[in-house]
């Protein structure tokens, strides 16, 4: 109200006439620039064909404001002048126009909610193969977590935390106005249990060179118009068009980068393969064996590698020097190469434009025989007809991706080289295994150090392949018709079609496959989404100079999704051999198992949006969307009996105080905006949640078999809902040289859809029902500034900061009354039967995503409080599971520095995640297997190389090993022991020596990480996950115009680029920027035998003519 009063300044006294001319930077007159009196926007004119204008000013009006799209708005004090010359400069710092929901372009200052825009350069300068990774560190509150799992690796993107206990909490991706799928399409089951082969998040295929802008709708208020799909925010991607080209143009971009390993564990090079300090090779099949050969023990608790003579797998039965091969694992990996080449041509005429682009992306992975090939065709065609009243645009994107082999990262015996390294001998040179077939048994029998457990890594990489071919078509057509200056109508139709085929080969003699006879599986994934949308808009005439402007749109959308998944598994090949043709579904020893899944769903929607603005400094937006969702229709109850319709409202407000208060230009504050918004959005139910069904199983011979589905449905199942409030400010100083944009939000997601576990004794395992609340509160801060600016030098800084706390406020009663916690993933690492499983948990009153497992028994009080209690020298574990904390970082921050000096610009982006926890199974496994030094473990001050009992080996006349004790060992675990009774404990420092590791899953390290083989201790290998990365570096030289002219080019630039160049972290053995994938779910905070992350660096060329 205050603004209104303040602006109601009387207009009085002497009028005078002001004339002027508006020029651009090049001295050309600007036609159609908006010139108006400060504080009285209604008193304005547009410049004429010569850039001239004339205004009548009253006595107290002595500042005018000049604005033009694409240029920085300028305030000019005219005082006594009657003629002014005004030069506008291009607004490169802060783009004023942003794309909002439904593709509506808005002035950023008019928005009452947070939207952050990234331009083409932000995305494409240092290109990753997964476009999602290009957002990392660049937008406040947008948490992107990549991983090193090969060229197709997924990236997990969360905006404002996690709204839901079910599903992945990924934002909706919208390309050119139409939603596309970003699913993982990951099926763990059926392929040797614990496989994680990461084929990537589906939205990763969008080609960076084709992106014009990315607008991130962060909160529900921004995304409310997407209704039931909007709870996790929206990423709006607009692709390039030929619209702003002048005539014909050709652009060529070429980037080639090399990838090397960023981090590997600290391997020890003192002790080799074996157990209990002993090792000798017999025939590779004895785990321990009567002769204590430990040849198939699979761990590095063996003898000292000091050149002593020991029979080994490749020594033909003769003793050979036992010496370390320090870089054996590093030498397996190769330098990866990624090459992205793009050519585009565009043209525009008075009433049409087009752009055609082709991109080839080729990748050679760091794991031998892995890679990616991707071809992208992108086109945009625009046509304006009937005096520009009808505007038609066609966008099409076709992407064909394929790979002969996607590396498997995970705890999978059959096809993960990362599994193999856990048990890889420290003394074996990697090249000694390069010939991976037994001579004369090519295609039938692999050759390795031992014959029980682990597969030869070269064999895995070359024979056990995971290939895919995928076709993706994303297309849409948009027609907009302006009936008159008030009314317009727009129709859009979009389709996203995915066809993905995957083949999995496991060669004969692969350990851990049925019969070790090889297997073959094919997956087929097809997905299709279509959207048809109609929008009718009305707006007032902005030229009529009234104080109020009003815009309103109403429309509707029909969304349909269909998906088909087919998995055909031939678990055991009939005929083995060296021929390609053995890998078929029909070459089967025991039949083929087929699973198929079809899903379909639809959402019909009606929506409306209204914007009211007052004198261009006060804006009020309201939206409403009504969704009808097919997944909430209970087929048994029918439409009438189902509650499947939901209303999602939002309201937001923006006040430009600097305009309203007429802050003088002499003030350091050049712009001040306050914003606030309230919104409700939803999150839909999965299809077919109603009714108890019977699940088809593999037939028993001729007898069909169906089993009662263990998940029951709640007949009252309803939509998840999120209510959100946000407010913030945007303040700019010193003529916009410094900007601080801050947003605080508070969201509550309730009626959580949850697969509530119930006691198996009831006859069901889960009920799909509603219950529970998650709150997300957080702060987003964007600071941009230009600390230094001279005529040919500029330094720009952008700081993005985001903090989010996702808290489980409540859970369904049946959980509250029992444990108070719900396992989102009840068993992170299946396959290790027995013991306690590690869990990813939602616990009432706690941060979402607690890492649960067993813990250490610790002294509760007294001088030794907190120390680990030992018994017989081994640490004691708790009976009940404990939490090691939540994965959620305290905050994420990215800081981008750009230095521009004449034609040279340098960009440096640091990206960091601070706080939160990460469990590293790689570290736990490597330490129990004795492969690493453990010197970088902040939790345990013991080296795996300390205190080992070691033997030297000799051979008797029969050739059998004779062991001589070389050194007796033992380590003392840090902590205490109880010399009192269980009831009246008395603690003294632990002084009992035990073997650090050794035979039969005993020894200190095995027990420290949890009950021998189980490794079910969550505390031991969970670390503060803080990391900072030198995420991107680019050095770009733009060739000067004099040179490019001579070369016949419009522009040309050459860049040196680098990604993930440095990593700073205290987490041992691994790069903590990672996650696990289980049953198609991202599980942050857990790492298991992942591929090493990579740094990449290379050269990028860009020319246009």
């Amino acid at each position: 109200m205050a603004f209104l009063a303040l602006t109601a300044v009387a207009m009085q006294a002497q009028d005078r006439t002001l004339t002027g001319t508006v020029y651009d930077q090049d001295g050309l007159s600007v036609i159609g620039a908006n010139v108006y009196v400060k504080g009285n926007p209604s008193k304005g004119v547009a410049t004429d064909l010569d850039g001239k204008f004339e205004l009548t000013l009253s006595e107290n009006e002595n500042t005018i404001i000049v604005s033009y799209v694409g240029y920085a708005t300028k305030r000019v004090k005219v005082d006594g002048q009657s003629n002014v010359e005004i030069t506008l400069s291009e607004d490169v710092e802060l783009s004023e126009v942003v794309v909002t929901a439904l593709g509506v372009e808005r002035d950023e200052k008019a928005l009452g909610y947070a939207v952050q825009t990234l331009g083409a350069d932000d995305i494409a300068k240092v290109k990753p193969t997964n476009v999602t990774n290009a957002l990392a560190g660049k937008a406040a509150g947008v948490f992107v977590t990549g991983s090193g799992n090969g060229p197709t690796a997924s990236a997990n993107i969360n905006i404002r935390g996690a709204a839901s206990l079910l599903g992945n909490n990924q934002p909706l991706f919208v390309v050119n106005g139409m939603p596309i799928t970003n699913d993982l399409y990951s099926f763990d089951d059926g392929l040797n249990g614990s496989t994680t082969i990461d084929f990537g998040n589906a939205a990763q295929i969008v080609n960076p060179d084709d992106i014009a802008s990315v607008n991130i709708l962060k909160g529900p208020a921004a995304s409310a118009l997407y209704g039931a799909r909007a709870a996790d925010g929206v990423i709006l991607i607009e692709t390039k068009t030929g619209k702003n080209a002048e005539g014909w143009g050709v652009s060529i971009n070429s980037t080639t980068t090399a990838e090397t390993i960023l981090k590997l564990p600290n391997y020890q090079n003192e002790f080799g393969f074996g157990g209990g300090g002993k090792y000798s090779y017999v025939d590779g099949t004895n785990y321990i064996g009567p002769k204590e050969s430990y040849e198939a023990y699979g761990e590095n608790w063996g003898p000292r590698m000091n050149g002593q003579l020991i029979k080994q797998f490749n020594s033909d039965g003769e003793p050979a020097p036992f010496t370390p091969a320090p870089d054996n694992i590093r030498n397996f990996f190769r330098t990866g190469v990624t090459s992205i080449n793009n050519i585009s041509i565009n043209n525009s005429t008075d009433n049409s434009d087009f752009r055609l682009s082709y991109t080839n992306t080729g990748n050679r992975g760091i794991v031998p025989n892995t890679g990616l090939e991707r071809n992208t065709f992108q086109t945009s065609i625009g046509q304006r007809l009937f005096d520009d009243k009808l505007d038609i645009r066609l966008n099409g994107m076709y992407v064909r991706s394929s790979s002969g082999n996607v590396p498997n990262a995970g705890y999978d015996e059959s096809s993960s080289v990362m599994y193999g390294w856990l048990w890889y001998p420290r003394q074996v040179e990697i090249n000694d295994l390069r010939d991976y077939w037994e001579p004369g048994q090519e295609g039938v029998q692999q050759r390795y150090v031992e014959d029980l457990w682990v597969n030869n890594p070269w064999f895995v990489a070359n024979e056990n392949t995971n290939s895919f071919q995928s076709n993706r078509l994303i297309g849409n057509v948009r027609m907009k018709y302006d009936f008159n200056k008030h009314f317009s109508a727009r129709f859009r139709f979009g389709a996203d079609v995915v066809d993905d085929q995957r083949q999995f080969r496991r060669a004969p003699s692969t350990k851990a496959t049925p019969g070790e006879n090889g297997s073959y599986r094919e997956d087929e994934i097809s997905f299709q989404e279509t959207n048809a949308e109609l929008l009718l808009s009305y707006k007032t005439d902005f030229q009529d100079n009234s104080a109020f402007d009003f815009e309103m749109s109403v429309g509707g959308n029909l969304m349909q999704q269909r998906a088909n998944f087919l998995v055909a598994n031939n678990p055991e090949l009939k005929f083995a051999g060296d021929s390609e043709s053995i890998y078929t579904l029909t070459n089967t020893a025991s039949g083929v198992l087929v699973e198929s899944q079809k899903t379909g769903q639809a959402i019909n929607s009606l929506f409306g949006v209204a914007t009211l603005s007052y004198r261009n400094f006060l804006y009020l937006d309201a939206t409403v969307r009504q969704d009808w969702s097919s997944t909430l229709v209970d087929p048994a109850a029918g439409l009438e009996g189902s509650d499947y319709s939901f209303l999602y409202p939002s309201v937001s407000m923006s006040a430009i105080l600097s305009d309203a208060l007429q802050i003088p230009t002499s003030s350091p504050i050049s712009f001040l905006k306050l914003k606030g918004a309230y919104a409700e959005v939803g999150n839909g139910a999965p299809p077919y949640s109603f009714n108890t069904t019977f699940t088809p199983q593999a037939a028993f011979g001729g007898q069909s078999v169906f089993a009662t589905n263990r998940t029951l449905a709640d007949p009252n199942l309803t939509n998840e809902r999120t209510r959100a409030l946000e407010f913030g400010f945007d303040v700019r100083f010193f003529g916009d040289r410094l900007r601080v944009d801050a947003t605080y939000y508070d969201m509550l997601s309730f009626d959580q859809i949850i697969n509530l576990p119930v006691a198996a004794t009831s006859g069901a395992d889960f009920i799909t029902t509603n219950g529970g609340e998650i709150s997300n509160r957080g702060l987003e801060l964007l600071v941009t500034g230009r600390p230094v600016e001279t005529s040919d030098f500029a330094w720009d800084v952008t700081l993005n900061f985001g903090r989010n706390r996702a808290v489980v406020e409540s859970l369904p009663d049946v959980i509250s009354e029992n444990s108070g916690r719900y396992s989102i993933v009840p068993d992170l690492f299946p396959g290790d039967e027995g013991g306690a499983d590690l869990e990813f948990v939602a616990e009432e009153g706690e941060l979402l995503g607690q890492l649960y497992g067993l813990g250490f028994q610790r002294v509760p009080s007294g001088p030794f409080a907190g120390q680990i209690i030992h018994e017989n020298g081994l640490p004691l574990l708790t009976q009940d599971k404990v939490s090691a904390g939540s994965y959620q970082p305290d905050f994420r921050a990215g800081i981008m520095n750009t230095f521009t000096w004449k034609n040279l610009s340098v960009g440096v982006l640091f990206d960091g995640s601070f706080g939160g926890k990460m469990y590293s199974r790689t570290h736990a496994l490597m330490a129990t297997g004795g492969a690493i030094t453990n010197e970088d473990d902040p939790n345990l001050d013991l080296l795996t190389t300390e205190g080992r009992t070691v033997y030297s080996v000799d051979y008797d006349a029969a050739g059998d090993p004779v062991y001589t004790l070389e050194q007796a060992g033992g380590v003392v675990g840090p902590g205490v022991k109880n010399i009192g009774t269980p009831e009246n404990p008395e603690y003294v420092p632990n002084d009992v020596e035990v073997e650090p590791g050794g035979a039969g899953y005993t020894g200190y390290f095995y027990n420290y990480y949890g009950n021998g083989f189980n490794r079910d201790n969550i505390e031991a290998a969970t670390y503060d996950a803080t990391w900072v990365k030198l995420r991107e570096v680019s050095v770009t030289y733009n060739l000067p115009g004099s040179l490019t002219d001579r070369m016949g080019l419009g522009r040309a630039s050459v860049s040196l680029v680098g990604r993930n160049l440095l990593l700073f972290t205290d987490v041992p053995s691994i790069d903590p920027e990672t996650f696990s994938i289980r049953n198609g779910l991202f599980v942050p905070g857990f790492e298991s035998t992942q591929l090493p992350s990579t740094r990449s660096f290379g050269v990028s060329l860009s020319v246009g003519f």
Partner: protein, 492 residues
Amino acid sequence: MSIRKISFIFIIASVLAVGCDDFDELNTNPNEPITVSSDVLLASAIRQSVNTMVNESFLLGNNAAQLTAKTLRTEVDAYNWNAFPTVWEGMYTSLSDVNSVEQQAIESSNEQMEGVAVVMRSWIFSVLTNAYGDIPYFDAIAAEGGTFTPAYDLQEDIYADLLSELDRAADLLAGPGSISGDILLNNDASKWQKFANSLRMRLLMTASNSLPDAGTRFAAVFNEGNYIQSNQDNVTLTYLDAFPNQFPLLPLKTGDFDAVAFSQTALDVMNQYNDPRLARYARPDNDDFSSAATFSGAANGSNNANCSKVGSRLGVQYYNISAQTTASELGLPTAEGIVMTYAEVEFLLAEAAAKGWISEDIEEHYRAGIAASMVYHQVNPEPFGYSSVDDFYANSGVAYSEVTDIWEQKWVALFFHGLEPYFEVRRWYAESGMSWDGIPFLAPPCDNLNNDVLPMRFLYPGQEQSLNAANYQEAVTRLGGNDFNTTVWVVE
């Protein structure tokens, strides 16, 4: 508002209204039916429950009874028992299908099928209560009716109901109707009757110490004469050649995490008699099936230097080992999933005779039990120095002299009979006054962690503590703690 605009809105609204019409069809699950015939559910229940028992006999039953020994992960052998949730979950899971079968059978007045469902349910619950003691029984498997936290019932009450249910089932199986989907007993109602009655005898023997009228009830069943009387009546699942219907252990490999070897205890007993079953239960270390076969036995107990973990691998019918003799090369089938065999019934009769429950010749049944087991395992007596099974009985020293002989030979015969070997060892241990001393062929496991005391029950799984907390607490309080040393009613 212009007419044009209004009409547009009208068009959108009507499109949407029409669009929603097929939503109920769209949300009808195309992958899974909401009704199926009962044969497919019976097959599911049989496969699921029998597979569970095969796996658990491998992981638990044989090892807890010292017929085999774990060589790597020795928690079971060493009495360092955690909860064994796979027994609980595997068996309870099968009950949903069983109950659906029963419901459909009642609706269609198919008494035979109803009888099969009752027998299956009774067998499954009998395994569960024998393992755990008090369990959810009367209120279990009622989630569809809204009971998500079933109460725990007393084992005594469960036993009473199981025995009467099996009695009722035997009558139902004589009634109208037909059986389908029976991959266990080939849709043969008479075999199901025999199974029902034999199971009653098993339960009466198991509870003989706690059920005052066990003897008379046993005699009544015996006198009806309708029980398993030959290996043709065996309740076993014959697996197929094709994945996933093979014997569940075939895909395992040596050195697997749950590596199991033949036990020293079993080796000692069988060596004493030169028992030809040795070449079936264990794979000769030298892969030689002639008289030159060599065997070794691993100690049950802790995984430390005192307890040798080197023992023969399990027999050719249970495992495939590359480049070694296969079952088919010896003309043997792969192993079956055993629920109950004729041999067990004969030993039940022998012991019942010894207890004076029935007036029968002890030795006759004892000898028939041994013979039945030998025949079932298709032994070749010759490499062991016998011309026939009779020759073995006469000349090996196995011939009957006292009651513990029945225990010993029954114990040998119960190889891979689910958890039954452990349940029987527990009964004998109880009959011996909670002592090993009364069981001549057994001793406490090497360096075990339970003071040489045999555990009396399985621990309730952790899932019940979190999902059925109140009822679980009540049951645990009644027991005096979720402790594996707490006795259950059948051995009190």
